[in-house]
C-alpha cells in the first residue's frame, strides 16, 4: 500500500497517523507538504488532524485552498481513496469533497475525551474492519465537530448508507439529542460520512490514537488493518 499523509502549516497529528499506519502495515507513509502539486502514484491520501493555518477563519477553510488540494481533487475525480480525520474531515467538507460542514461544538468547548462510535457505513474500506452495528472506543479532540447538512442531504446520506460512524453509548445506543452521548451536537449524531463512491471518508474522532497496545489499546486498529488489507501491504 502506498499512502501519503498531507501536512499543512499547523497540522499536528501527522506523526500519530504515520505511527498508526506503520503499526498496521509495517511501512511508513509518505509525508506530503501542502505545496506539492501531485499525489500521483498513491493508493490512499490521508489528511490528518491539527489546526491547519490556525483554523483561524473557519476550520479547514484555508487548507482547502492549498495547492495540494488541487491535486487531491484530481485524485478524487479519478476515483482515488481519501481519508480525512478531524481537521482532515473539516478540510474535505470545505473543499466540497464531502457534503455538509462542521460547526462549533454545541457546548462551545473543546472536547478531548474518549467516545464510542457505532459502525454504520456499508461497503467502504474504512468500515469493513468491523461488522455493521459494531461499537468501538476512540479518543476525540476538537472544537468544531458539530456536523451539519441540509435535511435533504442528511436523508440522502442515510438512505445511501453513507453515514460511516455515529456517536453512541458504550452499549451502542444512539441518541442525537442527548449531549452525554452525542457530545458535540452533530446532526443525527453523525461522526463520519462517506462520498457517493464510498472512497472518500471523513470522521471527527481519532482512531489513530488508539492503535498501540502500549498507548491505551487497539480499538481503532481495525480501520487501519482493513485499509491495508484492501490495498495489500
Amino acid at each position: 500500500m502506498k499512502a501519503g499523509v498531507v501536512v499543512f502549516p499547523g497540522t499536528n497529528r501527522e506523526r500519530d497517523m504515520a505511527h498508526a499506519l506503520t503499526l498496521a502495515s509495517g511501512q511508513a507513509p509518505k509525508m506530503l507538504w501542502h505545496q506539492e502539486e501531485s499525489v500521483d502514484g498513491l493508493d490512499l491520501v490521508i489528511i490528518p488532524g491539527g489546526f491547519s493555518f490556525g483554523d483561524y477563519l473557519r476550520s479547514g477553510a484555508m487548507a482547502a485552498h492549498s495547492p495540494i488540494m488541487t491535486a487531491v481533487r484530481r485524485f478524487a475525480e479519478k476515483g482515488g481513496y481519501i481519508l480525512g480525520v478531524c481537521n482532515g474531515f473539516q478540510i474535505l467538507t470545505e473543499a466540497q469533497l464531502l457534503p455538509g460542514a462542521l460547526l462549533r461544538n454545541a457546548g462551545m468547548r473543546f472536547l478531548s475525551q474518549d467516545c464510542h462510535l457505532k459502525v454504520e457505513g456499508r461497503d467502504s474500506i474504512y468500515t469493513k474492519g468491523w461488522s455493521a452495528g459494531d461499537v468501538f472506543r476512540t479518543p476525540m479532540a476538537h472544537g468544531d465537530g458539530n456536523y451539519t447538512a441540509s435535511p435533504e442531504m442528511l436523508d440522502r446520506l442515510e438512505g445511501e448508507g453513507r453515514v460511516a460512524f455515529r456517536y453512541c453509548r458504550e452499549d451502542g445506543h444512539v441518541q442525537a439529542d442527548d449531549p452525554h452521548i452525542n457530545l458535540n451536537g452533530s446532526a443525527r449524531a453523525i461522526a463520519g460520512v462517506l462520498s457517493e463512491n464510498r472512497r472518500i471518508c471523513g470522521m471527527m474522532p481519532h482512531p489513530e490514537n488508539l492503535t498501540d497496545p502500549a498507548i491505551g489499546g487497539t480499538d481503532g486498529l481495525p480501520l487501519f488493518k482493513a485499509i491495508v488489507e484492501a490495498f495489500g501491504v
Binding site: T93, E94, P99, A101, L103, A106, M108, N146, T148
Partner: protein, 80 residues
Amino acid sequence: MKVRVFVSLKEGVLDPQGKAVGHALASLGFKNVGDVRISRVVDLDVAAETADEARKEGEAMAKALLANEVIEDFKVEVVA
C-alpha cells in the same frame, strides 16, 4: 479602498455560538433577549481604482475563501 465582507450563517443553519451567547446573557439576568445570531465581518484594504472594482474583488474573495456557501451567506460593501 476599504471593503467590508459580512458573513453570516444561512437561515435555518443552527448557530451554536449564538445559542450559547443567548443562554449566557439570560443567566446574567438579561431577560428581554430573544434570538441571538453571530456573524463575522472581514475588513480589507483593497488596492482598486473604482468602488465597483473593489466590490468585485471583495466578492471574489468571499466566494474563494471568506465564506463557506454551504452554510453561509455573504454581503460585500465598499466602505470608503
